[in-house]
C-alpha cells in the first residue's frame, strides 16, 4: 500500500509538469494580453510593464523562468491584482472554496447515497419514480438558473438569508444568532449540492440495483439475515464503488472551480479568481490555480484508488 502510494506520487510529478507546460503555452496562445484593456496608456509605459513581468522576453524563456519559480514553490506576482502574489490570492480564495465545496459535497453524498439506496430497494415503485424524477430535475436545472432563483426567493422575497456577501444577515441570523456566521454560506452550499445530490443518487441507485441482483445477496437472504443487514453489510460496500470513483474528481472540481456559483453569490473563492484571471489574461494567476486544481485531482484520484483497495479486497493496491 505504501509503495503503491509512493509510486503514484512519483508519477504525479511528470503529470503536473505536462499540465503546467500545456497550460502555459495554451494560455499564451490565446489572443490578447494582460494590458490590452488599458487603451489609453503610452506605448512606453506598456513596454515597461511588460518588462516588469518578463513578458518582453521570448516565450520559451518566459516558460523556463516560470518553471524555475514553480520549482521553488512560487507562483509569481499577479498581473491584475497589484501588489499581491498569486500565492496570497490563492490563500484567500482556497479557504472560502474549501468551506463551501467540502460542505456541499459532504451533504450531497449523505443525501444522494440515502436516496439512491431507497430508490434501489423500491425499484420501479412509486418511491423510486419520485426520487429519480426529482434527481432528473436536479441534473437538468443548471446552477445559473437555480442560484439566482434561490437568491430571489430566500434573499429578496423572504429576506431569510443574506445576499452576495460573506457578512451574516437576514432574519434567520437575527432569530438564531448562534448560526449567524453560517448564514452567508447556506445558499451557495445548497446551490452546489443539489446537482451533486442528483448525480450521486442516480449512481447509487444503478449500482445498488446491480448488486442486489447478485447471487451473494440471495445467499445472505437465505441465511435469514434481516433486510437491514443484507443491505448495509452485504450490498452497500460493492454498491458504493462507482460513487467513490465519482466523488474523487468531483471533490477536486467542486473545491477549485465552483465558478458559476461563486460568481452569482459574489464569493471571493478560487472559481472567481480563475474566471477573472482568464478574462484578464492574468497568466500567473490562471496557471497557479491550474496547478492547485491538477494537484487536487491527482491527490483525490490517489485517495480513491486507495479506498478501492479497502472497499474491494480483490483490488490489492500495488498490483
Amino acid at each position: 500500500m505504501l509503495s503503491f502510494a509512493l509510486k503514484r506520487l512519483a508519477i504525479a510529478a511528470p503529470t503536473l509538469f505536462i499540465i503546467v507546460s500545456l497550460s502555459f503555452f495554451l494560455m499564451h496562445t490565446a489572443p490578447g494580453g494582460p494590458f490590452d484593456a488599458e487603451a489609453n496608456l503610452e506605448p512606453q509605459i506598456i513596454a515597461n510593464l511588460k518588462a516588469a513581468y518578463d513578458l518582453d522576453k521570448p516565450l520559451f524563456q518566459q516558460y523556463l523562468i516560470y518553471l524555475g519559480k514553480v520549482a521553488q514553490g512560487e507562483f509569481g506576482p499577479s498581473i491584475r491584482y497589484q501588489d499581491r502574489s498569486v500565492t496570497q490570492l490563492i490563500a484567500t480564495g482556497l479557504p472560502v472554496s474549501l468551506r463551501i465545496g467540502l460542505s456541499a459535497i459532504f451533504i450531497a453524498a449523505m443525501i444522494g447515497i440515502s436516496l439512491g439506496i431507497t430508490a434501489a430497494l423500491n425499484q420501479n415503485k412509486t418511491t423510486d419514480y419520485v426520487v429519480m424524477g426529482v434527481a432528473m430535475t436536479g441534473i437538468a436545472v443548471p446552477s445559473f438558473v437555480l442560484a439566482p432563483l434561490m437568491t430571489l426567493i430566500f434573499g429578496v422575497i423572504l429576506k431569510l438569508l443574506p445576499i452576495a456577501t460573506l457578512e451574516p444577515g437576514g432574519s434567520l441570523a437575527r432569530t438564531f444568532p448562534a448560526i449567524a456566521p453560517l448564514t452567508p454560506y447556506i445558499l451557495p452550499i445548497i446551490a452546489l449540492a443539489i446537482p451533486q445530490v442528483a448525480i450521486i443518487s442516480r449512481l447509487t441507485r444503478g449500482a445498488m440495483i446491480e448488486v442486489l441482483r447478485q447471487n451473494y445477496i440471495r445467499t445472505a437472504r437465505a441465511k435469514g439475515l434481516a433486510e437491514r443487514r443484507v443491505v448495509w453489510r452485504h450490498a452497500l460496500q460493492a454498491g458504493l464503488l462507482p460513487v467513490v470513483s465519482y466523488l474523487g474528481p468531483a471533490i477536486a472540481g467542486i473545491v477549485t472551480g465552483a465558478v458559476v456559483v461563486e460568481t452569482i453569490f459574489q464569493l471571493p473563492g478560487m472559481g472567481r479568481f480563475f474566471v477573472q484571471g482568464a478574462i484578464n489574461r492574468d497568466y500567473p494567476l490562471v496557471l497557479g490555480i491550474v496547478i492547485i486544481f491538477a494537484t487536487a485531482v491527482i491527490a483525490m484520484n490517489l485517495i480513491v484508488d486507495l479506498l478501492y483497495g479497502v472497499l474491494d479486497p480483490k483490488v490489492k493496491a500495488g498490483d
Binding site: 425499484q123 441482483r213 447478485q214 447471487n215 451473494y216 440471495r218 445467499t219 445472505a220 437472504r221 437465505a222 441465511k223 435469514g224 439475515l225 434481516a226 433486510e227 443487514r229 453489510r233 452485504h234 460496500q237 460493492a238 472497499l311 474491494d312 479486497p313 480483490k314
Partner: protein, 322 residues
C-alpha cells in the same frame, strides 16, 4: 412420521414483458425427517425455482402460490421477519456457484459467524468456536487462517465447503442443495459428494439434492422425484427408478447416461426434440412432443400424477393403458 416439508399444489410463475411464465405448476411433494430426496430434471424444468419459491428467494418478478408447510407452518403466509427466523436456522440452502454466492468483500469468518449471531444469539467468540468445529468437519485445512480470508482467496472446492459449512452451522432440519457439485472439477465433485455422504450418516437433517446428474442421485438419495416442464412426472425410491423407470422421460434420461459396459463408439440415446416453451405449455402431456409412444390422448389431455404403488407415482397415460 410427520413430514419436515410439504409442498402442496405449489405454483411458481414470473411476470415478464412477454406475459406470465409458469416455472412450476401444481407441484406436491413431501419430505420426511432424515431422508435424502433427489430432484432431477434438465435446466429449466423448475427444480431450483420450486425450492427458491419455498424459501422466499424468488427474483422480484416471481410469485409462489399454494402451500409450503415447514414443520407445521405455511411459509408462504409468513412475513419477512418470521420467515427470516426459519431460513438459515432450521432450513438452509446451498447454492450452485459458490464463487458468486459468497459476499466478495466480507471475510469468510464473518460470513459464517453472522449466521450464528443472528439465529442463536451467540457471542462472536462462541460463534467462532462453533464455526471452527463445522469447518473442521468439512475438512478445510488451516481453518484459523482461512477465517480471515476473502472468498477470492479460496479455490472452487474450498468455497463450496464454506457454503456447506455455512448451511450447517445451525444444524438445520432441512438442507436444500441446489446443484452443489455442478460447477466443480470431477475430483473435487467426488470430495464434495463424500462430504454429503458423511453428512447423511452423521446428521438428522433431511436433504433435498437438486441435480441434473443421475449419478449423483444414485450414490446419495433414498428417493427421487423427476421433474419435466415444471411438474413432477415420476417419483420413486432410488433403486426402483434405476431398475424399472416408468415414465418415458425417466427412461430417456437413463438411456442418456454413458455406461462403462458399453462400447466406446456406441452412440448415446439422446431424447429427441427440445423441452416445451414454459410460456406456451401444451394442453396435453408436456413430454408428448418428444415421446415415441405418444397417442392423441397424450396430446390433448394432461396426465395426472397417479399412485402406482405405495411409494411410486408417475404421470403418464401409457401406464394406465398397460
Amino acid at each position: 412420521m410427520n413430514p419436515v416439508l410439504t409442498l402442496d399444489h405449489l405454483n411458481v410463475s414470473f411476470a415478464t414483458n412477454n406475459g406470465e411464465v409458469s416455472a412450476v405448476s401444481d407441484l406436491s411433494l413431501s419430505i420426511t425427517p432424515g431422508e435424502c430426496v433427489g430432484i432431477v430434471g434438465e435446466s429449466g424444468s423448475g427444480k431450483s425455482q420450486t425450492f427458491l419459491g419455498a424459501m422466499g428467494l424468488l427474483a422480484n418478478n416471481g410469485t409462489a402460490t399454494g402451500r409450503v408447510v415447514f414443520q407445521g407452518q405455511d411459509l408462504l403466509t409468513l412475513d419477512r421477519a418470521a420467515l427470516n427466523k426459519i431460513r438459515g436456522d432450521r432450513m438452509a440452502m446451498i447454492f450452485q456457484d459458490a464463487g458468486t454466492s459468497l459476499t466478495p468483500h466480507m471475510r469468510i469468518g464473518d460470513q459464517l459467524i453472522e449466521v450464528l449471531t443472528t439465529h442463536k444469539g451467540h457471542s462472536r467468540q462462541a460463534a467462532r468456536q462453533r464455526v471452527l468445529e463445522v469447518m473442521e468437519s468439512m475438512r478445510i485445512p488451516e481453518i484459523e487462517k482461512r477465517l480471515t480470508q476473502y472468498p477470492h482467496e479460496f479455490s472452487g472446492g474450498m468455497r463450496q465447503r464454506v457454503m456447506i459449512a455455512m448451511a450447517l452451522v445451525c444444524e438445520p432440519d432441512l438442507l436444500i442443495a441446489d446443484e452443489p457439485t455442478t460447477a466443480l472439477d470431477v475430483t473435487v465433485q467426488a470430495q464434495i459428494l463424500n462430504l454429503f455422504r458423511a453428512l447423511k450418516r452423521h446428521t438428522k437433517s433431511a436433504i433435498v439434492l437438486i441435480t441434473h446428474d443421475l449419478g449423483v442421485v444414485a450414490g446419495l438419495c433414498d428417493r427421487v422425484a423427476v421433474m419435466y416442464a415444471g411438474r413432477i412426472v415420476e417419483e420413486a425410491p432410488v433403486a426402483d427408478i434405476f431398475a424399472a423407470p416408468k415414465h418415458p422421460y425417466t427412461q430417456g434420461l437413463l438411456k442418456c447416461m454413458p455406461r462403462l459396459d458399453q462400447l466406446l463408439d456406441a452412440e448415446l440415446d439422446a431424447i429427441p426434440g427440445q423441452p416445451p416453451n414454459l410460456q406456451n405449455l401444451p394442453n396435453g402431456c408436456a413430454f408428448a412432443e418428444r415421446c415415441v409412444n405418444a397417442n392423441t390422448r397424450c396430446h390433448n389431455e394432461r396426465p395426472a400424477l397417479r399412485e402406482l404403488s405405495s411409494a411410486r407415482r408417475a404421470a403418464c397415460h401409457l401406464l394406465e393403458a398397460a
